[in-house]
């Protein structure tokens, strides 16, 4: 091999050397060029824009520096605060149940299903691959006040003996009454992402060494104790990933509330999220500077909450209690 090397190298040495040296840079350059043009530049432009008063229709020359006024405008705007509150409530209302359902579900699927596991996982995963717009349109009809399937089902359940009392007697005006807009949006989000989380937890469960369960069983641990002392602590890393993803996703909620409320924000604006309000400020009010400032304020909130989440669930946090 060594003997054959000089011949081709001597013939095409310059070019061979050159392309070997720069190949990796050329190979990764498309991503970085795209990132600088369509990722980094917009961010910097957005930062610049947040200090300008500007209507997109009027041309770049019409920009006017206004200092922090776009920020103070947002911070003194009750609708902005309401949109932040809505976003926070929706993130919790839709995020928490996803995990409270997904973890036992993954435990159940891993525990009792063998051959059917792939099929069941695929079924639970269906909502995740389906267009949010399509989903929201379907749910819009299902949530209908007088004639919707959801109210009809709740009504039927209310008629059952024993557990009937758990279900409301009257039809709920899901999308027409302030109190129910957020639960309705949250239900759609829960429906869409629980299967995804279940899948994450399932892969986490399968990574837990089986010997632990064997040993626990020999020691006489019940299923509940195994769940409490083996599954939950060892699931923590994946729980952290899953919770972080739902938190960041929940704070950027746009499509579900947008379609379910027909773009209006719904009764009492209860379904107006910050991204929706930002879109409205830009598209309907043509106020690009205020919208840009709003996105930076939301970015701060997302960053802060992600940090808090890291503190609670990350490397430290819950670990202490469950380790012996």
């Amino acid at each position: 091999m060594l003997a054959s090397k000089p011949t081709p190298a001597a013939r095409r040495g310059g070019w061979t050397d050159f392309q070997r040296r720069y190949a990796p840079y050329i190979f990764i350059s498309p991503f970085f060029i795209l990132f600088f043009v369509f990722g980094l530049f917009p961010i910097l432009f957005n930062a610049y824009l947040s200090f300008q008063q500007w209507q997109p229709g009027s041309g770049l020359g019409e920009m006017k520096f206004v200092g922090l006024r776009n920020y103070t405008d947002n911070l003194t705007d009750p609708t902005f605060w309401q949109s932040l509150r809505n976003t926070a409530v929706l993130a919790v209302l839709s995020g928490l149940p996803q995990h409270l359902i997904a973890i036992p579900l993954a435990f159940a699927v891993a525990g009792v299903l063998r051959r059917m596991q792939h099929l069941v996982t695929a079924v639970y995963f269906l909502p995740y691959i389906t267009s949010i717009v399509a989903i929201s349109v379907i749910f819009f009809t299902l949530f209908s006040w007088q004639y919707g399937v959801i109210n009809a089902a709740l009504n039927a359940l209310h008629g059952l003996p024993l557990i009937g009392g758990l279900f409301p007697a009257d039809r709920i005006n899901w999308l027409g009454q302030k109190e129910y807009v957020q639960p309705a949006v949250a239900l759609v989000v829960i429906w869409r992402y629980t299967g995804w989380n279940m899948l994450l937890y399932l892969s986490g469960l399968q990574a837990i060494p089986r010997e632990l369960y064997e040993a626990a069983a020999v020691d006489g641990a019940t299923g509940g104790q195994q769940f409490r002392y083996i599954t939950l602590p060892l699931l923590r890393p994946i729980m952290f990933v899953a919770v972080t993803l739902s938190l960041i996703g929940g704070l950027q909620l746009f499509e579900e509330p947008f379609i379910l409320t027909n773009g209006t924000g719904g009764a009492g604006q209860a379904g107006l999220t910050t991204i929706m309000y930002m879109y409205r400020t830009y598209a309907s009010y043509s106020d690009a500077g205020v919208a840009a400032a709003m996105s930076w304020l939301l970015f701060l909130v997302i960053g802060a909450l992600t940090l808090v989440n890291n503190r609670l669930f990350g490397r430290s946090g819950l670990a202490g209690r469950d380790e012996r």
């Binding site: 435990f107 009792v112 299903l113 639970y124 909502p127 349109v137 009809t141 069983a217 830009y282 930076w296």
Partner: protein
């Protein structure tokens, strides 16, 4: 714990699955939980198909329809009158295919570079790439819209597929796969045989990254097909709308024809359901492998 003693005495190996020891009642509960969850998951899809075959008044009656009607062809006709819907589906397909093909090419190329070469600045550049994953993309919609306006790309599909040609997630996925499954010796051997660097990529790397490409391709396709906020900003006329945008417009007009709208929903969702039925195992396995590593 008598049950455990019984297993020990009989010499049977205790089941090793998590939850394998659930007593019969808990097992029943587990089955029940899985069943109820599955029914609730599938139900909206079922009603989507049912509603697509009913008139508007039938959909909103008491009790709501739970079985198929016979208004499908009328709904279809009404949909086609209101929207150039096949055109909208074509737009979605065009966008999704272009995004997927370019993403696969550029992400595999970059993933290969990060996995197999050692070059100056590699760690820094890869760190920068990972950092971009943390930036919430929806926050960028205002400058994105303005840039596309400045470029004159409004109403042009390239406004969406050009920025989507490569993704940090895709490069990360491909790097992990190439780094862990393709031996470096293979690349060295090809180099000694006189192959060019791009030749090695094309003839050695690409044929061996099939499984990872299938996962990334599916994810990219599904994301592009389902995209809403991007198209909402870029496309302004019903001729250029993607399918989700057309659905949104149909819903927005007064006196919505819900039968026609449901028919459009079915046409938008069914291609993905078919794709998923063909490739769900691949998609699910690839996704969980990527996410647990991250």
């Amino acid at each position: 714990m008598t049950s455990v003693k019984a297993t020990e005495l009989s010499g049977a190996r205790p089941s090793t699955r998590p939850g394998g020891h659930l007593p019969p009642l808990s097992r029943l509960g587990a089955y029940l939980l899985i069943l109820v969850g599955a029914v609730l998951t599938v139900a909206p899809f079922y009603f989507m198909f049912v509603f697509a075959t009913h008139t508007r008044t039938e959909i909103f009656q008491l009790p709501p329809p739970t079985w198929f009607g016979n208004n499908l062809d009328e709904n279809y006709r009404s949909l086609m009158e209101r929207m150039p819907f096949w055109r909208n589906l074509w737009n979605s397909l065009y966008l999704a295919v272009l995004t997927t093909v370019t993403t696969l090419f550029f992400c595999t190329l970059a993933g290969y570079a990060f996995a197999m070469y050692s070059f100056k600045g590699r760690e820094t550049l890869f760190g920068l790439l990972l950092a971009t994953l943390l930036i919430p993309s929806t926050l960028n919609i205002v400058p994105f819209a303005l840039i596309m306006q400045a470029l004159g790309w409004i109403d042009q599909p390239r406004a969406l597929w050009v920025p989507g040609m490569a993704s940090a997630f895709g490069i990360f996925l491909m790097r992990q796969y190439i780094g862990s499954s393709i031996p470096r010796e293979l690349v060295e051997a090809a180099r000694i045989d006189g192959a060019t660097e791009f030749g090695i990529f094309r003839r050695v790397i690409v044929p061996l990254t099939g499984p990872a490409m299938a996962t990334l391709g599916l994810v990219t396709f599904v994301q592009s097909w389902n995209g809403f906020l991007g198209p909402l900003i870029i496309f302004r006329s019903s001729e250029t709308y993607t399918a989700p945008l057309a659905l949104r417009t149909l819903q927005g007009i007064a006196n919505t024809d819900w039968g026609a709208l449901m028919c459009g929903v079915v046409l938008t969702v069914v291609p993905l359901l078919v794709l998923f039925a063909l490739a769900s195992r691949q998609l699910i396995e690839g996704l969980t492998a990527g996410s647990t590593k991250g």
